[in-house]
Each structure stands twice: as structure tokens, then as C-alpha cells.
């Protein structure tokens, strides 16, 4: 069976299941679901070769709403289950859906290892900086001082930066977007087209427990001032009129926000995005006063499931047709007459 070669032209409807969606009204997850259902037909995906695997949490209900294969697993373990699935059938197009709690708290270890192994799948981390399904406790991405039922005096935990975690794990693809972004389909498509583990952090609004936490970034009016959309090979400019940009401060060895045309800054001073540069990607994960969106880092490397398959093929070449009788006789045997 050849993978993902559609015999018919699929539509968004073919990827939508008959299950009633049960997220809260206004939840950012709806927009992500819609983006996913919209892009898959255009990617040559087929429902039968596509699998969504999730852990536990609001985001992890996602597979139920896709008319593909799906596995709603246990808390934090989706990356490990997805790895096993890819080992059993590397032809499948596997998407892992996780959240800030599922992926970075209880499942942090598995996220680390699926990224460093570079298993060929997409990991979408819906980051709403809160525990939704357990009713509003602070999460590993919540800001210090956040008051929640489990932190009545404010959270004292330092938050993790998801994209930085992914780079630290040596992920080969790291991207960021937000739930209602018009460019989310484009980022998801980039992730899907990457060979290896593609990590996408999606800033997602929780209207019940953490409403508006990303408003400055995602609001149509204020957003442009805070959104830096990365284009490989292009200068990193942003702002309502593209007047702001990132310049390399050679004294601090850090990126700083500057305005073109002020203080003698010209467009030539603006750093050009190179998505294969891990040092640049590292700085882009956590910028002062602006959020980098799009592909922060993309540098293909050896794909885990392919390396595993190659070793199996080599073993077959080297040892020939497997023979159980011969295996049992390996080493020393003797005959009793």
C-alpha cells in the first residue's frame, strides 16, 4: 500500500468525525482543529494513513474529532506511544497532540526523547499556560505570580520556554504559531513536510481559566507590534509598518529590538533569518517585547525510524533468511542417543 497517495480528492469533511465537539465555547482549540481539517486534504493525506495520538488534557480530546485513526492515551505518554506506532508502521503520518501540562510536566521526559531521537512525526503543543481539564491550576508555562486555586499567593515556579526546551533536546524542527492565526495552516504544513520530529508550539487561549493571556500578541490591533513572522533568508522585521527589527548587539551577543530609521539604524543592520542556525534559533525562542512566529529552526537530521529500519534490513542482508531452527542451535549442542 503506498502511503498518502489519495485515490480520490479528499475534502475537509472527509477528515471531520461525527463526534460532537466538547470544548468550551470560545476555546482556541476549535481554530486549531479547523486549520488541521483544512490543510490535510491539500497535503495528499488520506484518512486511513493519518493517526492522531494524544495524552490527557483538553487538547488531547483532539483525535476524537478527526475522522482518521486516533488514540487518546494516558497522561504524558503520547510521544512514547507514537514512537512505538512509527516503529510498527513507519508509513503512517503521525501527529501527536499535547499541551503544556501533558507535554512539559508529566510527559516532559518523553517529549525530550522523541525530539532527540528525531522520530518522523509532528508534535503540536497547545500552550495555554494553565491546567484546564483539572480546573485551573498553574502549569509549567504559567508566569511567576499567577494566582490559581493551587497558588493562592501566586505561583513561584519559573516557567519553561517550550521552544527552548525543544532546541535543548536537539529538535530538528521548531516552530511557533497561535490558535487563530491565519498563518497557522502554513506552519502546520511546514511541520508536516519536515522529515523527522517537527515541534510546533501553538499559543492557545483558554477562555475559562486564563482568558486573554496572549491578547497583546494575538489581537488584531496590538498584534503586529508584538509578532515577528520569520521568513528564511529575510531580514527579521516587524511592527505595524515593518519599521522594527532585530539587530545583533555585538557586546552582549544578544538580539535587540531596533527601529529602522532611528539612531542611524538601516535595514542592513537587521539580522537575516537563517533557520538552520541553532544559536540564532535559541535567541529567537525568548525575545524582549516581541514573539517570534513561524519556523524558528529547521535542520534535517537522521530520522530515527528510518535508521531502525535500515539496521533491520542490514541484519537481513547479513544473516540471510531467518531460521529459528538454526537460532536454537546457536552455540553448543549435543545429541543423546
Amino acid at each position: 500500500m503506498s502511503p498518502n497517495v489519495p485515490e480520490k480528492q479528499y475534502t475537509r469533511k472527509d477528515f471531520s468525525s461525527d463526534q460532537e465537539v466538547r470544548w468550551c465555547p470560545g476555546c482556541g482549540d476549535y481554530a486549531i482543529l479547523a486549520a488541521m481539517q483544512r490543510i490535510l486534504p491539500g497535503l495528499g493525506s488520506t484518512p486511513e494513513n493519518t493517526v492522531f495520538i494524544s495524552g490527557i488534557g483538553c487538547s488531547s480530546r483532539f483525535p476524537y474529532y478527526m475522522n482518521t485513526y486516533g488514540f487518546h492515551t494516558i497522561h504524558g505518554r503520547a510521544p512514547a506511544i507514537a514512537t512505538g506506532l512509527k516503529l510498527a508502521n513507519p508509513e503512517l503520518d503521525v501527529w501527536v497532540i499535547t499541551g503544556d501540562g501533558d507535554g512539559l510536566s508529566i510527559g516532559g521526559n518523553h517529549l525530550l526523547h522523541v525530539l532527540r531521537r528525531n522520530v518522523d512525526l509532528q508534535l503540536l503543543l497547545f500552550n495555554n499556560q494553565i491546567y484546564g481539564l483539572t480546573k485551573g491550576q498553574y502549569s509549567p508555562t504559567s508566569q511567576v505570580g499567577m494566582v490559581t486555586p493551587s497558588s493562592p499567593f501566586g505561583s513561584v515556579d519559573q516557567p519553561v520556554v517550550p521552544a527552548r526546551f525543544a532546541l535543548g533536546a536537539r529538535a530538528t524542527f521548531v516552530a511557533r504559531s497561535y490558535d487563530t492565526s491565519k498563518r497557522l495552516p502554513e506552519t502546520l504544513t511546514d511541520a508536516r513536510n519536515h522529515d523527522g520530529a517537527a515541534f510546533v508550539e501553538i499559543l492557545q487561549n483558554c477562555p475559562v481559566f486564563n482568558d486573554g493571556v496572549f491578547d497583546l500578541i494575538t489581537d488584531r490591533k496590538t498584534g503586529p507590534a508584538y509578532q515577528l513572522w520569520l521568513e528564511n533568508g529575510q531580514p527579521m522585521l516587524f511592527g505595524a509598518n515593518g519599521e522594527k527589527g532585530l539587530r545583533m548587539n555585538l557586546e552582549t551577543l544578544m538580539l535587540e529590538v531596533v527601529t529602522v530609521g532611528e539612531d542611524g539604524v538601516t535595514e542592513a543592520d537587521i539580522v537575516v533569518h537563517d533557520e538552520t542556525n541553532p544559536s540564532l534559533a535559541w535567541m529567537l525562542t525568548d525575545l524582549p517585547g516581541v514573539v517570534a512566529l513561524g519556523v524558528l529552526y529547521r535542520q534535517p537530521g537522521p530520522v530515527y525510524n528510518e535508521s531502525v529500519a535500515r539496521q533491520r534490513e542490514l541484519a537481513k542482508e547479513r544473516f540471510g533468511t531467518p531460521d529459528l531452527e538454526a537460532l536454537l542451535r546457536e552455540g553448543h549442542t549435543w545429541t543423546v542417543t
Binding site: 488520506t46 506511544i81 506506532l85 516503529l87 510498527a88 549442542t333 549435543w334
Partner: protein
Amino acid sequence: METSAAARVHPTPRETLDSVVIRFAGDSGDGMQLTGSQFTTATAAAGNDLATFPDFPAEIRAPAGTTYGVSGFQIHFAAHDIRTPGDAPDVLVAMNPAALKVNIDALKRGGLLVVNTGAFNKNNLAKAGYEESPLDDGSLDPFRILAIDITKMTLESVKGLGLGSKDAQRCKNMWTLGLMYWLYGRDRRSTVEWLEEKFAKNPKVAEANVAALNAGHIYGENAELPSGIGAYEVPAAKLEPGEYRNISGNEATAWGLVTGAKLAGIEIVYGSYPITPASNLLHNLARLKQFGVTTFQAEDEIAAVSAAVGASFGGAIGVTGTSGPGVALKSEAIGLAIATELPLVIVDVQRGGPSTGLPTKTEQSDLFQAVWGRNGDAPLAVLAAATPGDCFYMAVEAVRIALKYMTPVMLLTDGYLANGAEPWHLPDIDALESFPVEFHREPEGFRPFSRDKETLARVWAIPGTPGLEHRIGGLEKQQDTGHISYDPENHHMMTKLRAAKVQRIAKDFPQASIDQGDARGDMLVVGWGSTYGAISQAVRSLRERGHKVSHLHLRNIWPLPTGLGDLLRSFGSVLVPELNNGQLVKLLRAEYLVDAESLTKIAGQPFRIAELVEAVEDRLNRSLQ
């Protein structure tokens, strides 16, 4: 392949013995496990029946000379059928004072003690806690002693081969082995070949080891041994005709898993995280990629089982192997496989617990964990292997049951089976019945939780199959459709259904039957797992003494085999010996309301035959009073 006739290497008249138990003991760096396994290979070639018991510390290289760094290897070989590594050794080889100290109490009175006097210096004596050398204080008088400066002899034998003093000293285990080969008339060839292969890249070391081996042998031929010590012969045992090899439990389990998958026509994904004493299951499977085996050394125990569950979802047989602490970590994922009704095999090579417990010591204390150890009412099938060779058949059975009933199956072995070895009559692979897997392919009327009427197994529809797209998960499912359901009656029904499915497996197991003895009598001894050999020999000897005792051995722990209750009730009393604080006994009492009595040993060591015989006789005598 060779014939079984023991090679006669020396013309000295040899005293014929029926059986011998030898324990090799030394520092964990002295190579005692290698010495033991080489002696085992040579003994198998001599046609004896045999059983071995390696006993080593958890420390890789404990400080030299200390008692907690002592590593031992016991081998029992005989001219007749045997089933255990023997109770007390007839021969103790002690390479240093610590090894003597730890093991001397076990040696039979009048037994042969071979000591390396070269290691009995002041420093080593002090480390072992001896104020005075036991070689001089008369405390060893009850034994026949062969005191040799093995260190010195070894150094002389490898002189001129250009080895440093440290490397030269390392050959002393081979010198000792050479002497033991001479004493018991074993052929050196297999060890010479093994040394040449092992040190192929370092011929100097190979040569030195062979020289030491030969020197030890020549010492035996020429030295005037103290009176009472001579050369011995243990004639070949009358084993069933056929082809044999030595096998350890972990090898047998690995090969059984591969064979099971082949009989099912399916590939294996084995997820594992290294843990004593299960690690060499992973090692054994990792080199069998050509058999369609994918091994995954996961980041932790949870990822290991999760990957196996993911693989089963994808249409392979997911397998994970571990020991007790690992099973504890895997519980939630095993529950997921139960809820989603996916096949899964979990191998638990048990060790002493709780917590980290006794990593290198054997115990049977995971029975409760296997049968009940998950949140919710979460039934699965539990099998237990009885001998190292039985691990092969039980691994095949675990794969068969998992696939036929779409259920996780836990296979219990233990450290004693995993590392112990026995001669194994090779099976005829072609004669094993295949059980090919059929995936569901028909989209018409497909419902992911529709079931086979007989087995209650749900259909297995795997990703990649057009028209069968569906979602599964750990939330309760509606019967048949598999949709999420919070309906109270549905949950009640699904819980009963999952339990009934696992109980149906009993129909697939052999009926409960008596292993040895009559179907009624004064006492039934019920065992499970690796205690098989000791209980079997004990019951044999009790019956020879005229006791009306029978032995029943459980290989199917859950569900229990049909007819078991009737058998238990056919005896005056039921005794359940276990290497735990009484687990199977509680299961039997709960299931059958029988007054079964527990006999426990929780010492990290297997039962000795004598202690079982004594315990049974005590109870029989008590009931007469």
C-alpha cells in the same frame, strides 16, 4: 555437535559418583560466573543432567576481598534426572578468605574444600573478618581440604608469555577450572575453543588463559593429592534421546517470543529499559533484528511499555520486559491496553522487593502485582514459567493468548530462572501449532468493539486500513461502537465483560492436573514458577518415604485452570510453598474457600529440597497428633 560420552582424559582410576554439587566462589572480579558457565558447558557435553544457580552481588566491582563482593556459581550434575542446583554443595572452591567465610557454612561436612592459599594474606583475612587464618585454627577440620597457592601456580604457568602481573593473575580462574576439569573428568576442548574465540583479537591473553587451564589440569594429574581426595567420574545421565543445548531462562524467553511472533505471522516491537535481572532479554532480542524484531531501549519503563502499546495499536505484537519495580511504573499503560483491548506481553523477571529490594536475588513476590496491581477492575492473563526451558513455551503461549483474546498477558519468570541454566531438549519448531493473526479489513458494518462470540476478543483493525478509521482511548467505551460512554449501566457491563473475557481464557488452558502422585491423599503441595524443581524433588523423596503427598504446579496463574478447586478439595491438606510472604495461597483461599496453608521463604534464595521435605513431614506429623 558431539556425542555424549564423557571424554577420558586420564588413565587414573576414577571413583564413580552419582551426583555432585560444586560451588565456585570468589571476588566479583575473579570471573566465577565465567568459570561456572564453562564448567557447565563441559558438563553438558559429558552427558550429565545438570542445573545451575549463579548468585552474585548487585555491585559490579565491589571492593576486592570483601564479603559483600563475593560472587558464587553453583552447579549440580548427575548421572540421573535432576531438577535443582542442589541443596548443600559437596565441593566448595574458595578463591579468597571472603568467599570461604560466606560459603563455608553451606558446605557438607566431609565435603571437599579447594582454597587458594595465595589469597589468604593478612589484608584479605582482615577484610573477611578473620582474626586468625581459618586454614590454621582447625575450624576447617570437618572438611577435606585441597589447599593450593593458585595465584603462584597461575603466575608460573603464564611466565614468559609477556603478560603484566595483573593480567597474569586474572588467569587464576582458568587454572582452577583446569584442576576441576581433571578432578571430574571433563573435557577441556570447549573452553579452549571459547577462549580462542573470546580473545581472538588478543592472542596473548588467549594463550595465557589456555596455558593456565592446562597447568591446572596437569597439576591434578601429577600432584599427590591428600588422602581422601581422588579423581571422580559422574557417568552420563539417561536423558530422552534427541538434540540438547544448555539454556538459561532469559534466552528461552527471548526465543519463545520470537517463535510466538513467527507462529502468528507478525512482527515484534520490544520496548525495554535496562533492569536487573531482565536486561539480557533486551540484549538477546536486540541481535535478532533479522527475525522481524525491533528493539527499543526506551527513556524509562513507562516509555518502554507505551511504545509496545503503540506498536500493538499499529499491528505488531508489542512486548515489554522488566522486573518488579518496572512493572509498578508500567501499570497505568497496562491498564490502557486493558481498556483499549490491545494485545500486549509483559515479561516480569521477578527479584526481591519491595522497592529496589534485592536486585540480583530471586523472589516470587510479584504475583499480587501481576494479578491485581492496577487501578480499576483491570484483569489480564498471568502465566508463570516453571524451569529455564519452560520459559520458551510460556513465552510462545503468552503471545498466543495476547493475540487470540486481544488482552495484555503477564509472563512471570524470576532471577533464578533467568540466570539459571539446564540442558534443554530442543523443540521441533515445525511441530508447533501456528496461530496466524487476521486483521479486520471489512468496512461494511465495522464497529471497533464488536467481538468474537466465543473468545469475546474485539476486532483488531489497524491504521492504514481504508474505511476503518476509528478512535480508541482510555475513557470508558460504549460496548460495540467504542464511542466514549459515561452511561452507568454500560460501565457496569463493560467491567463484567472485560473480566469474563479473561476468564474465558481458562477454556484455552489445560485442565488442572497433578504433576506427581495420586489425585487424592493426605497433602497436596501446590507450587508455581521456579520452585518447580525443588518441590518436585521434595515430593518425590516424600513419596519414597511412604507419604501420601502429591504435587500440583500452576503455570496458569490467572485465570486459574478449570478443575483446580476439585483437586484442592481431594486432599486432607494443601500446602503452598512460595518465595514470598504468601501470595498464591491467598489467591487459592479466596477463589476456592480451601484451608490452604502457606510455607514461605523470603531470603532471596531458592528452596532447598531438604527444607521442603522437613516442612511437609512436620505438618504431616502434627496432623497425626
